[in-house]
């Protein structure tokens, strides 16, 4: 009895101490120490399926800041991280932490489209600078575009649109489209069909697998009976790895060529030789003959003891874009309008090649054609030069 009372008191006491520390903002605040640091808030996946992608983006961003001596436009940068867990139901709560609790000057996020859409809801209303370093949902720089929101990656449409023309140019006139049934897959599907049909190709069937199922046998069987000239698909990550392996195991590899956008990124170690020869279109790839890319790869590998990927590039470019804005206003972050103008007119010297910002705030960039050779997504040409997204419904264009 005595013991348990003490235990209770202890628990009460320690709970109070911790709580009062964490929730000091609940109490009236007197005096406000103005920090001269610029606060950058990362809202990225640090746990779960996309954790590596979040880390890659953060590393890329930090690498650029390090190269500038830890300062942008003469001002020190402070980083604050929030794990978005790739959970859209927590997206608004998590974004609110950075916007209101931590009062960051820039919010960088995120990978998952649903989470990014939740963030956009709040950043649009708050007018805070927001850079999307990956999520390809069209609406963020389309119907919901906003002066304070920029994207440094791609739209799902943009990355795959040039693919159709390439497939048709090889004399493959019919194709089957396969995807996961979700937003990104639908958008990529529109991009592929638009590109392929416009040059005369015919999509004979669209197949879809419920998200996040990875049982592909049924669609592979259908493909085998449909006998199209080509198969184009949109899967990424673990699903991409499994699709590649199942496609090869079903004996379709070598008979019906498989194409995609991001299918082969980050999975080549996992799939072995099954991916050999798969061609895809994307905004980045390996063996790019660009000086900036070689320097970037060496610097990244040195700083983080691992090889960079597209996510590192997107993070790096996010920092570049922000730095251009800050430089234009000489570090005066309160001059948001000045920053936005500079960022809109930015010309980013990226490892992926030089790109500019569209009026809707999405990159206008070269889309590369890549082929899997060994453990590389080797760039074999440019599928579309300086491609801009439609930005359907955006009022800024």
């Amino acid at each position: 009895m005595d013991y348990s009372n003490k235990r209770r008191q202890f628990i009460k006491g320690s709970a109070l101490t911790i709580a009062s520390g964490a929730f000091s903002g609940l109490l009236p605040r007197f005096g406000n120490a103005q920090s001269s640091k610029i606060k950058v808030g990362f809202m990225l996946p640090y746990s779960g399926t996309y954790a590596n992608l979040g880390v890659g983006i953060e590393n890329g961003f930090r690498l650029f800041v390090q190269e500038k001596g830890g300062k942008l436009a003469g001002r020190e940068i402070e980083f604050i991280r929030v794990d978005d867990e790739s959970d859209p139901s927590k997206a608004t709560d998590n974004a609110n932490k950075l916007i209101l609790r931590d009062k960051v000057d820039l919010i960088v996020g995120t990978v998952h489209s649903g989470v990014a859409m939740g963030m956009v809801k709040l950043t649009r209303e708050a007018g805070i600078l927001h850079i999307i370093p990956n999520a390809g949902a069209a609406a963020a720089t389309g119907a919901l575009c906003s002066p304070n929101i920029f994207r440094t990656s791609f739209t799902n449409w943009q990355a795959i649109y040039p693919l159709g023309k390439h497939i048709y140019s090889k004399g493959q006139k019919t194709a089957v489209w396969v995807t996961w049934k979700y937003g990104a897959g639908d958008e990529a599907g529109e991009g592929f069909k638009e590109g392929y049909i416009s040059v005369g190709g015919k999509v004979i069937k669209e197949l879809a697998i419920p998200f996040p199922s990875m049982e592909f046998q049924s669609v592979l069987t259908e493909i085998a009976f449909l006998k199209p000239d080509a198969v184009a698909c949109f899967f990424a990550g673990a699903a991409g790895a499994k699709f590649i392996k199942d496609y090869a195991a079903a004996g379709l590899k070598g008979k019906i060529p498989l194409y995609s956008s991001f299918l082969t990124d980050g999975v080549l170690d996992a799939v072995g030789t099954d991916a050999e020869g798969i061609e895809s279109t994307a905004h980045y790839g390996d063996s790019l003959q660009i000086k900036k890319d070689k320097e970037f790869r060496i610097a990244y590998a040195k700083a983080f003891k691992m090889q960079p990927d597209a996510f590192g590039v997107q993070g790096y470019d996010s920092a570049q874009l922000f730095a251009i804005g800050l430089d234009a206003v000489k570090g005066d972050i309160s001059n948001k309008a000045g920053m936005i103008v500079a960022m809109e007119n930015a010309k980013i010297d990226s490892p992926r090649g030089v790109w500019t910002m569209s009026k809707a705030h999405n990159p206008v960039q070269d889309i590369y054609l890549r082929r899997v050779v060994g453990k590389e997504n080797k760039v074999i040409g440019i599928a579309h030069k300086a491609l801009a997204d439609h930005a359907r419904g955006c009022k800024m264009t």
Binding site: S47, G48, T49, A51, N52, K181, L207, A208, I209, P210, F211, P212, S213, M214, E215, Q217, S218, V219, L220, T221, E222, A224, F225, K227, G237, A238, A241, K242, K245, D246, A249, A250, G251, L252, K255, I256, G266, V267, D269, A270, V271, G272
Partner: protein, 290 residues
């Protein structure tokens, strides 16, 4: 639609169903005998896949890796039973749901600490790395037939163990009346630990055997978990044959859902479950031990 194509889809559905059965069997066993709902069951599936990957690399052989992996998961099952699960047998399902939900969070985090967040492919062992030509451009990998064979062998093995062996007799007795069994001089605690670790290793074996097809990746357990629960509910909790029937039904529903009604294929599994529960609220098979 060609008849051949339907036959091959039938094969796909059965093959997928058998794989699901392997995961669901452990779930229904643990529930049927100990009355424990284990949401963390899917995590064991994931652990199995990661073990197969890391051990196969370490040992240099898929088969040696699996053998070591089975031993490790049996030990893991025993430890978990003693530390966590044995406290839950007499408690309301509510606490079982919660505790095992907590365990999912723990296992996911430990997985990221131990094995990282990458996707890892497991190489198909040389012996089975061939395929059978089905049509002019479709082949069926031998390894998938092997997986199906393993699943059927385990189903039969489970049935024989439970119905025909002394251990099975004690297990059945313990499930019906654990006090009485204990009075008769049976160490029921040990039996529980054994059954639980069999359940864990069944899920892990499923993960290991499937790993050359599925790869090992974060959160792979949660997806399979919900499907397995549906299977167990359809089949009738605690029934091994029920789990088999349920798994085959779900495998077929998923496959033909994708073919004939791709717009609603995500729903097909749940619609099937609703229909069966309206018809038979206790599932297709009654519990076979009692």
């Amino acid at each position: 639609m060609e008849i051949n194509s339907i036959l091959i889809q039938l094969l796909n559905g059965i093959q997928y169903g058998l794989l699901l059965f392997l995961v669901a069997a452990g779930l229904t066993l643990v529930f049927g005998i100990m009355g424990v709902i284990n949401l963390a069951h899917g995590s064991f599936y994931m652990i199995g896949a990661y073990l197969a990957w890391s051990l196969a690399e370490l040992a240099g052989s898929f088969w040696v890796g699996i053998a070591i992996g089975i031993v490790l998961t049996i030990i893991l099952g025993m430890v978990l039973e003693v530390v966590f699960f044995k406290h839950l047998y007499r408690r309301d399902h509510l606490y079982q749901v919660l505790m095992t939900y907590g365990l999912i969070l723990i296992f996911e985090d430990l997985r990221s600490v131990l094995w990282g967040n990458d996707i890892h492919g497991v190489v198909i062992p040389e012996l089975l790395n061939s395929s059978i030509q089905l049509t002019e451009n479709l082949t069926y990998p031998m390894y998938r037939f092997f997986v199906s064979a393993v699943c059927i062998a385990i189903a039969i093995g489970l049935y024989l163990t439970i119905q025909r062996t002394r251990l099975g007799m004690i297990i059945r007795a313990g499930a019906t009346n654990s006090e009485m069994t204990q009075v008769l001089g049976v160490n029921i605690k040990l039996i529980h630990a054994v059954v639980f670790s069999i359940g864990v290793s069944l899920a892990a074996i499923a993960g290991m055997v499937a790993s050359p097809i599925s790869s090992a990746y974060p959160n792979m357990g949660t997806q399979v978990l919900i499907t397995c629960f549906v299977i167990v509910v359809i089949g009738g909790i605690g029934s091994v044959w029920g789990a088999l029937a349920g798994a085959l039904l779900i495998g077929l529903a998923d496959t033909f859902g994708n073919v004939f009604a791709p717009e609603y294929s995500g729903l097909s599994v749940f619609i099937l479950m609703s229909i069966i529960l309206i018809w038979r609220p206790e599932g297709l098979f009654k519990r076979s031990y009692k």
